[in-house]
Amino acid sequence: MNRTIKALLYPYVVWIAMMIVVPFFLIFFYSITQSRPDSPAIFRFTLQHYREFFKTENINILSKSVILAVETTILCLVLGYPAAWIISKTNVNIQNMILLLFILPMWINMLLRTYAWQVILSRTGLLYTDTAVVIGMVYNFIPFMVLPIYTAITKIDKSLIEAANDLGASSKEAFLKVVFPLSMPGVITGIVMVFLPAVSAFAIPRLLGGGQYVLIGNLIEKQFYLLNNWNFGSAVSVILMILILISMRFMRKSGEISGRGGAILW
């Protein structure tokens, strides 16, 4: 019955087919062939790039990236949730202002801000440690956590909280049993939006971590830049994509179990 509304999706489907799916297949094609970017006309089918990935050092690189990204995501959530919640409680006409203030620092170039962090962190002796990397990443990604959580919280029907209070729930209980569960869609979006870019980040780890180790983002980057090994680079990114899609599938499943009728996740 909602045919007209459903049709709103179709232009976007055409667009993603053109701009996302086709390029993805180009990458996938590179990942299963052997070629050189300087003479792209010659292709040979092979799966060696995928085999090559499953070496201990590459697995270590992947794990290290995931661990850093998980730490970043957890910190973003722990720090960002209260912020989003407090913002949602402020006077309505300044909420947008505060949100804007959260985003504004990001309009200044990322590299410049990271250099500024170098200056700050070197004073505290933290520069070139894992802590520095995590601080830098949290700094960079926290707005992506705050925004969706805020969006979800503001959508919660205020009368539900009042009802909880009327039924004798303390404000803590009301928060835990009403606000938090209902803000889950925002939380999950936030986790996704922080974790995904964090796992493949390479500029911040390099600048603040002092290049003491390789991360998955660096691994991919250097295949394209330095080694001209687009095939292996493509294979690594295909693997990364598959891993992430699988884990999101799981998250979605668990979201369905815990949410009301699958409305929590898509």
């Binding site: 050092e57 270590n60 661990i67 070139y128 600048l207 003491q212 180790y213 330095l226």
Partner: protein, 404 residues
């Protein structure tokens, strides 16, 4: 509802009009000739420059106004990024300024035009030492037919005189326990391997796996002493005095010493990398004649001076080099390789050769140096358990809530 679509339509229309009007931007500016220049970032003079009594904002501005042309100026941050962009089919650069080994690759792949030296009268100003060096180091290709040198230099150690009391004359100082966590290395396989290979007395272009293995062990041994492997320049940190020793390009060292008088520069006795960045004209150039004019302009004395004074890399234009040394940086060792006798042969220098596919071996070794040594299986298992527990907890919690 009409308004809704009208808005979308307007947006799309505006977008396409803007897009299309910009499409032709490469080729006009009221019929002026266009020159596409592709250079390193911060590698050209941006201070005002005076030529024949007229002052221009910067070097590019001067060229545009004097020749009445438009310059599309683009920058890159590494030879490899430049290469990736250049080989993509539609790139149309007229002048590029890569390093020696990348030029070697471009020549071997037949991507460069030969220079027509009759169009470059200023070429005679280029130091013969540099021209000879290129001939010597690349005997198999006629490098000098394709390039006009732009900047050159070495790689050495910049150090804090007030903190480093030992004599700095060998790469081995970078392995000295006294300077633990006060050493900057490059996060670059070839530059860092160069240091280890030179220390061991091998060629930095070696393809001998045994030698490379020894270099790798040397670098792993050094790892606990290194403060950071930096990807970008260490200028800021060294000016700030954050570490005592850093491996740097001579031009950066000149800049660091200029800004922090505590710093000094040394080229280790075991020898080092000598590099020359040059201007070349790719085959895809659409305006070869103007490219020659630009190259000639860049090595004219006033402009070469403006460039070298801004960038602080050593210029191959002999006359300018002598002027600068006399007036500005008499004692800046880093700027002046003749003081350290690079050409006299007291210090053995080598240029990088294009490794071709062997780059993968270098990379493998460098990755092994940097690879996280810890085993991550345990944290992963713990992390997995925690996440599963958390999910289970949420699910149970949810169930309980439903009772309400």
């Amino acid at each position: 509802m009409k308004r809704f679509f009208l808005v979308i339509f307007t947006v799309v229309a505006v977008f396409f009009i803007t897009a299309c009007s910009n499409k032709n931007q490469g080729g006009n500016d009221s019929g002026k000739q266009v020159l596409n220049v592709f250079n390193w970032g911060e590698y050209i003079g941006f201070d005002p420059v005076t030529i024949n009594g007229v002052t221009y904002d910067n070097v590019i501005d001067a060229f545009e106004k004097i020749y009445n042309v438009k310059v599309n100026y683009e920058t890159f941050d590494s030879n490899e990024a430049m290469y990736t962009k250049l080989i993509a089919g539609d790139a149309r650069y007229d002048v590029i300024i890569p390093s020696d080994y990348m030029i070697e690759r471009l020549i071997k792949q037949d991507r460069l035009n030969k220079i027509d030296f009759s169009l470059i009268p200023n070429y005679s100003l280029i130091s013969q030492d540099i021209v000879n060096k290129l001939d010597e180091e690349y005997p198999d290709i006629e490098m000098n037919d394709y390039v006009v040198p732009y900047f050159y230099g070495t790689v050495g150690i910049v150090y804090d005189k007030t903190k480093v009391t030992k004599t700095v004359d060998s790469w081995s100082i970078l392995w000295d326990e006294d300077y633990k966590k006060k050493i900057f290395m490059y996060d670059s396989q070839r530059d860092s391997l160069m240091v280890a290979l030179k220390l061991l007395g091998y060629s930095m272009n070696t393809h001998d796996l045994d030698e490379l293995q020894q270099a790798k062990e040397k670098l792993i041994e050094q790892k606990p002493l290194v403060y950071a492997y930096v990807g970008d320049s260490v200028d800021q940190q060294m000016i700030d005095g954050e570490a005592y020793l850093a491996v740097v390009y001579s031009g950066d060292a000149a800049y660091i010493m200029y800004n922090n008088p505590n710093m000094s520069f040394a080229i280790p006795k075991e020898g080092t990398n000598f590099w020359i960045d040059s201007m070349v004209i790719p085959k895809t150039s659409q305006n070869v004649e103007l490219a020659h004019k630009f190259i000639n302009f860049m090595i004219s004395p006033e402009i070469a001076r403006a460039n070298t004074e801004y960038v602080m890399y050593t210029t191959p234009v002999e006359q300018v080099f002598n002027e600068v040394i006399e007036e500005d940086w008499a004692n800046n060792y880093a700027y002046n390789p003749t003081i350290i006798d690079v050409f006299g042969g007291n210090i053995q220098t080598e240029v990088f050769r294009d490794p071709g596919d062997f780059i993968k071996e270098y990379d493998k070794i460098w990755s092994e140096v940097l690879s996280p040594e810890r085993n991550y299986i345990v944290p992963i298992v713990i992390g997995g358990v925690v996440i599963i527990g958390l999910v289970a907890y949420l699910v149970l919690k949810k169930r309980k809530n439903r009772v309400y």
